[in-house]
């Protein structure tokens, strides 16, 4: 019961949050919500032990697909978003045939190459991808009314609620996947791939499944982004964006579900409050680079290790207090 109360309280805070923020902060909150989905999907991919450098490009596949489907074929935007996610998953499935012949380091370089090829295709083919300038005037979400709340998507608050709902459901699905036998097999594939294989687990099939699922959610986050900002181009999904995702994930840590999300939220707040307010926005890549290096060097298990450290310290103290209490 206290868990449920905590969850409800947390939900209420998330719903009330935008009303305590300025307009530009509300916009950042929307990006943050979308990025939370992106890093959570990246963690799903890393569960099987493979680190991709093409994840942001896959997000772009979802963005491009959803934008084109609604723009060219006039498909209803929420349906186009789902189809964008499916497209990203399908592209990932196609890419998995060459990529999963590689492991570790080669997979990293291979995924980078595959991502670059996709970005070059966007750049090269003006029709339909719009070339280097990308797609403009992407259809916004159509307004709708659910009785208790009228969504007006010119307001960031409305888009925030919409994105929050989509991201919330997606996170719940990813959480359930990780807790299911399939998710446990992902862990086995990562830590004991020989043993898993010897126990009859089709290691490559599970790697592919994690990659495809993660790519689908990344595509969904891309679609959310495309219909919010209204314009995308190949450079929206370049290596710099991938470095941000890597930094969030590594700073947060990948051992727990909340690790990368924590990293994303903490660094975004740091970025917006410290850098933007202090006028250091231009130094963002520099500071991210520095944080990435420092966390690889000094905090290889991420922020989550600090959180867990704090909890175990508290528990140890409680236990100690209990012992002395019993003695007295």
């Amino acid at each position: 019961m206290p868990k449920l109360a905590a969850l409800l309280g947390f939900g209420a805070i998330l719903l009330a949050l935008p009303h305590a923020l300025s307009f530009s902060q509300q916009e950042i909150l929307v990006f943050l919500t979308i990025n939370v989905l992106l890093v959570a999907s990246y963690r799903l991919l890393t569960l099987t032990g493979e680190w991709s450098l093409g994840h942001v490009v896959i997000m772009g596949v979802g963005a491009y697909a959803s934008a084109l489907l609604s723009k060219r074929l006039g498909i209803y935007v929420p349906a186009a978003m789902l189809l964008g996610a499916v497209t990203a998953a399908m592209i990932a499935l196609a890419l998995s045939f060459p990529l999963f012949r590689m492991k570790g380091f080669y997979f990293l370089i291979g995924s980078f190459a595959a991502g670059e090829i996709i970005r070059l295709l966007w750049k090269r083919f003006r029709d339909p991808f719009g070339g280097p300038k990308g797609l403009k005037k992407i259809d916004p979400m159509p307004d709708f009314d659910i009785g208790i709340y009228a969504f007006d998507f010119f307001e960031p608050v409305s888009y925030y609620y919409f994105a929050l709902a989509v991201v919330g459901v997606s996170l719940w699905v990813m959480w359930r996947i990780e807790r299911s036998p399939v998710g446990l097999t992902f862990h086995a594939v990562h830590w004991q791939d020989r043993l898993a294989e010897a126990s009859g687990v089709n290691v490559r099939a599970y790697r592919t499944l994690a990659f495809v699922l993660a790519s689908g959610f990344a595509g969904l986050s891309g679609a959310l982004l495309a219909h919010y900002i209204g314009t995308i181009n190949p450079n929206s999904f370049d290596v710099e964006q991938m470095v941000f995702v890597l930094t969030w994930t590594i700073v947060g840590g990948t051992a727990t579900f909340y690790g990368p999300i924590l990293g994303c939220v903490v660094l975004t707040i740091l970025n917006e409050i410290v850098l933007r307010e202090a006028g250091f926005e231009q130094m963002r890549p520099l500071i991210y680079g520095l944080i990435l290096i420092l966390s690889v060097l000094f905090m290889p298990k991420g922020l989550e290790s600090l959180v867990r450290g704090a909890f175990s310290w508290r528990n140890a103290r409680k236990k100690k207090a209990g012992e002395t209490g019993a003695a007295g």
Binding site: G289, L292, V296
Partner: protein
């Protein structure tokens, strides 16, 4: 048609020269330290900015600027080795991620120091060797090609004729056995990192007058270098040189007869095919990685 082929061949030879310098440096670092330096393209960029600063802004002689660029980038390489490659020696993926972080830092520093606009370096010499009406070889390009040949030859001599070179190759083959023979792994890592970075820096310095210098120029350089070292076999110096030449020809010819983006796509597809069919590359051994 023959003339077009000849001219394209000359262009390819020039592209091969600086590609080989970058790729060989990357392979040397990987061979000795077992880590991929993702910031290698940015070291090339630093070398080019050394020319912008020393030659174009301070008006010092071009060769002095090249020497300064080479030494400066080599020292940056030493700093990288000490700051993160050494502490992360047992964690090659961590080293790679740290170098990605460093890439961002260098790009940001370059845009803060010089601005994001393109810098154009005044030409060193405008002389052109006219072979025929349609086949021309600018003297400066010839000089770049010759410089690359001299640098690679001296690297080869260093690696095969000197004790330091032997130590380097020994720790590339088997770090533990090399350490047991009294070779300092830190020492060989420093030498490899200095030479590898300096080669990238000198490549950037040599090509700076012929290209537009900007903070993001490292990206296409590192993509090309990855293609070359993966196709060549990730620990093979000879493979890197041979594939650099071959790839420069393929890329230049596809660029001339189709366009540059198609050429990039062809290169990346070649790399994916090699990764799938023979991940150790055309000239690589199965020892490392």
């Amino acid at each position: 048609m023959v003339e077009l082929l000849a001219q394209t061949g000359l262009n390819a030879l020039y592209a091969a020269s600086y590609t080989a310098l970058v790729a060989v440096g990357l392979v040397l670092i990987f061979g000795v330290m077992g880590v991929i330096n993702f910031a290698h393209g940015e070291l090339f960029m630093l070398g080019a900015y050394a020319i912008v600063a020393v030659y174009a802004d301070w008006n010092l002689p071009y060769l002095v600027a090249v020497a300064v660029g080479m030494a400066f980038v080599g020292i940056v390489g030493l700093g990288m080795e000490r700051a993160f490659f050494r502490p992360l020696r047992d964690n090659p993926l961590g080293g790679l991620v740290a170098s990605i972080g460093f890439l961002m830092i260098l790009q940001a520093l370059a845009s803060m120091g010089f601005g994001v606009r393109m810098e154009h370096v005044p030409p060193v010499t405008q002389d052109v060797i006219v072979i025929s009406e349609k086949v021309r070889l600018p003297v400066f390009r010839l000089a770049v090609i010759l410089a690359a040949v001299v640098l690679l030859a001296s690297l080869w001599a260093f690696l095969t004729k000197t004790r330091f070179g032997w130590a380097l190759r020994a720790s590339a083959q088997d770090p533990e056995a090399a350490a047991l023979q009294g070779i300092s792994i830190n020492q060989t890592a420093r030498i490899a990192m200095f030479i590898g970075a300096a080669l990238a820096g000198v490549a950037g310095a040599l090509t700076a007058p012929l290209i537009s210098v900007n903070p993001h120029m490292g990206h296409s350089v590192i993509v090309t270098a990855f293609i070359v070292i993966i196709v060549g076999g990730i620990g093979s110096l000879e493979g890197a040189v041979i594939v650099a030449v071959a790839y420069a020809f393929v890329h230049t010819f596809v660029t001339t007869f189709f366009d540059g983006v198609i050429a990039d796509i062809v290169g990346l597809l070649l790399m994916l095919v090699v990764l799938i069919v023979k991940p150790t590359g055309l000239f690589g051994s199965t020892d490392r990685a």
